[in-house]
Subunit: 303 residues, 4 copies
């Protein structure tokens, strides 16, 4: 099987490499010269333009997109005029599922196949395999099968055809919502261990212990144990937590579906909170307290 | 009616003054010389010891305690040996209702009457009257009636005998829990108005407008409008919100009663959060994200 | 001043009446015959078609829309061809502010004026006046001034020009978010009072007491006191809480603005929760507990 | 090594069996005849009284308690008069850590050793090993070492001496708090998948897929996959979720430590909510909405 990988960032380059190891002939392209060079140095056949990529692949082509969600539409604008009926596009990035449905429809009008693939596994996917949730038509999935088997952790494990186009990214979105909740649960728990001066607990030891036999053992705990081992006080790390879209979409979706998801929702809100500087809400609360109770206010530097 | 006021801080001194205005003969005492002098300067007869206070009052005495919750037990240790049967103690501070029940029992063994009084109104109570929730025996309440009528905003309004000892402070505790939730709701709302750069909203104008005819009009909104009028950007006020115990007790009580109170609970947690410095939970979240996604970490100064 | 009121439901009919009382000449229209008859019976001049309404008004006309948010676009489709430049449309309903901005632009292309008006006060507005938050151009607002003075609780009180079109409904949206949070805070508090069997508290008494002098006094408390007075155990009322859109929009907006609003958010989620039947999440939790702990499951009837 | 196991319920009986497999000579006792018979049938030497148990063990004795937290004090009342200095008691149940500290002090006065052991693993511990968090003195831990090695999933893995007495149960309490949060995150996520009728997702398939390579893989996911496999619609399972104490303690502790733990807290509150019948808060919300908006109320059967 031959496949073109568009987008050779952290995820795309690793996936290309794992596909190669699995016997898939991959040709790569990235608009950035640096990303192309890095991938070429790692042994990936790389071309320097979309046109060249399409020529390098036998018809009907299979193109796997690993680009930021915000870049997909522009890429399709460029790609579509160059493609031929039966070419197959896979969006393996973190697109919103409604966007994927819209894009699949657009591609369908040009008789192109479209598959949305939620991809989990992060930087560890290269060695451990990726978990893939795919939405699309049966025959499109059948064409992708060798690639999926190579990317997944083991044959017939860790990938699934979950429904029509959109379903793949929907499942990935919810997956990430769960991830937010789990991460927040661990974060709160370890904060409660760390704050308990009375016991002077050894967090790396405890995380490592929980990895074996406990109800909370998980891959995220494995990572936490490693992070705490390296840096038990998490020194030098700012309490500043980014989010990348799926959490927000999950919260909006939950509300649209009338399904209360308080823990996933609060996990997102805590991330927003971590990035707040000089919260207006908190200042108003302090001012109100002073207003009715005569409580002294803590002054800030900007006063 | 004659009454001894113990504790001449912000609340006690104001209440003594309102009682005087209502025709109650009040004698005051505070362990702090400064508080005594301030109250005396404001026209309150003040004595400089508990013994003197008790001698100044006709038997059976009425003593109103306005001291910090943490100081009540020590005060009782000192007072009890000096009191006589039928003397009546009112705890008008923010004690935990279980403590009030315990103290009432202790006083009962010495044949003293005990009333717990939840007091709301803050520094505005002097001019607008206090809202009083009282727990205790009928005859104790009957003896207090003139004082209650004087303290309340209007005769037979704003005070109530809500149950046996403990019930007064229980109701005040829940009252404060509600207060936390309302304050947080306003704080979030105004933060959303303030952040909406697109409209450059005039917060003092809006708060003032809402005071008339809107569903959210309230006394806390009156205070917010005033605070925003004085300082529309809340400049110089640190985003640091204290809590004084009743919120915590409410959350614990809710859990003990198996009653979910998410909004009151979250309101407390937001206050804890406002006082956090360099959250360990957030740092661990950032470290985990870096661990699985290779996301760049924001570094802090302590690294 | 003359004004056409479109939509004679609960809100529209009451507002027309208050305008009349304030000396404004109002002509009303509603697509429903029943609503028209009810309004006519209450003394409002009513016509039975849009065309008739427009003929009844002097140019340039002022039309006030009190229709469901979902009906505004269709109404504009019908109205726009019939209107003339300088006619002024006011949307006094609960539209999403982005919709109002879009509609204002559409109207602007036809040289019509557009004002969005967030209206608070509910069924009590007729007697107590409405709180109005208006977005639009200065001259449009100037034309509306007599109507605003009549609708508001008092002259120059309770209405404000808060910004350009969109700002009115934005402020109303946030207002309702705050309302959700306040309502939830009271609801939780009273639930904690009700559940405390030990004290057998009298909820109507307590609500009434808090109305005078307490920090939590508010108009929503006035309503709660009344509701509890009428029905202290709230018998016959299902624990089923609707929401009408603004809460959802507020939560989405908060996330878009990166402003954590946990209390407003949780208030919405509690409403969703109140309407859930046979929660899948809770059943999975129960199944998981059984899975690791061997805990017995409570069976449901559908098993 | 010889050891007496007191409490032969699900946990105690399994642990005794795993100890035996690991070469530890265990004698068991349970106050219930049925539990004793079941354990005896499974091959455990069982005695029918505490006295007999103590006689069966060489001095200084090692006694492992696997009884409900609420039964520990009464058991100690019975046991202490029968024990001799240097006997060692291990509380392997889910006691509150402050209770364990108090009990250790009481035992210390009788020159008995006391170790608190947080035990995780549930019914799967028998086959997969238990995760053990131990608090106590070094020499007490040294005496227990063979038993810990036998109970743990693998030698030197999954057990740790985490601090002085109390630290073991403290860590287990936090562990369970994390567990609540993780469970709730999964539950919400699967509910969002289940409700999405548009995609008709296959939940067992998805859970199984996520087990391989995804960021959310964990042991709790393994259990969820199994539960969904067995019963994809979770039919017959009531949406009723118990809690067993540690979650409440974690929430209280978090507040005491001034550490906001919103996700763990909300997870507990959702369990309380799942058990609520005819929520007073929701009924008051509905009544308030009717009060200001004239919204129709949904009636319940009790009206």
């Amino acid at each position: 099987m031959q496949l073109g990988m568009i987008g050779l960032g952290r995820m795309g380059a690793n996936m290309a490499q794992r596909l190669q190891r699995g016997g898939i002939a991959v040709t790569g392209f990235d608009p950035g010269a640096e990303a192309r060079e890095r991938a070429a140095a790692a042994g990936l056949p790389v071309v320097d333009g979309l046109q060249a990529l399409l020529q390098a692949l036998p018809a009907p082509r299979v193109l796997w997109l690993m680009v930021p969600a915000a870049a997909v539409d522009a890429l399709l604008d460029e790609l579509l005029p160059l493609l031929s009926p039966q070419d197959l596009l896979v969006d393996g990035g973190n697109s919103w599922y409604r966007d994927s449905q819209r894009r699949a429809q657009r591609c369908g009008q040009a008789r192109l196949d479209y598959v949305d693939c939620g991809t989990s596994g992060g930087v560890w996917g290269l060695s451990e395999g990726y978990c893939l949730m795919l939405g699309g038509a049966d025959d499109a999935l059948a064409r992708l099968r060798p690639a999926l088997q190579a990317l997944a952790p083991a044959p017939d494990r860790g990938w699934a055809h979950v429904g029509p186009v959109g379903a793949g990214h929907y499942c990935k979105m919810i997956h990430n919502g769960i991830e937010y909740g789990m991460m927040q649960a661990y974060a709160e728990g370890f904060a409660l261990l760390q704050k308990k001066a009375e016991f002077a607990l050894d967090l790396p030891q405890l995380a490592e212990t929980w990895r074996h036999g406990s109800v909370v053992r998980s891959w995220l705990l494995d990572l936490s144990a490693e992070a705490l081992q390296r840096n038990p006080q998490l020194q030098g790390i700012a309490p500043y937590v980014q989010d990348s879209g799926e959490g927000r979409w999950t919260v909006n979706e939950a509300i649209e579906l009338d399904v209360p998801a308080p823990v996933i929702t609060l996990s997102l809100l805590e991330r927003l909170r971590s990035r707040e500087d000089n919260s207006f809400a908190d200042r108003l609360l302090a001012a109100m307290r002073a207003g009715f109770g005569g409580h002294a206010l803590k002054r800030s530097a900007d006063g």
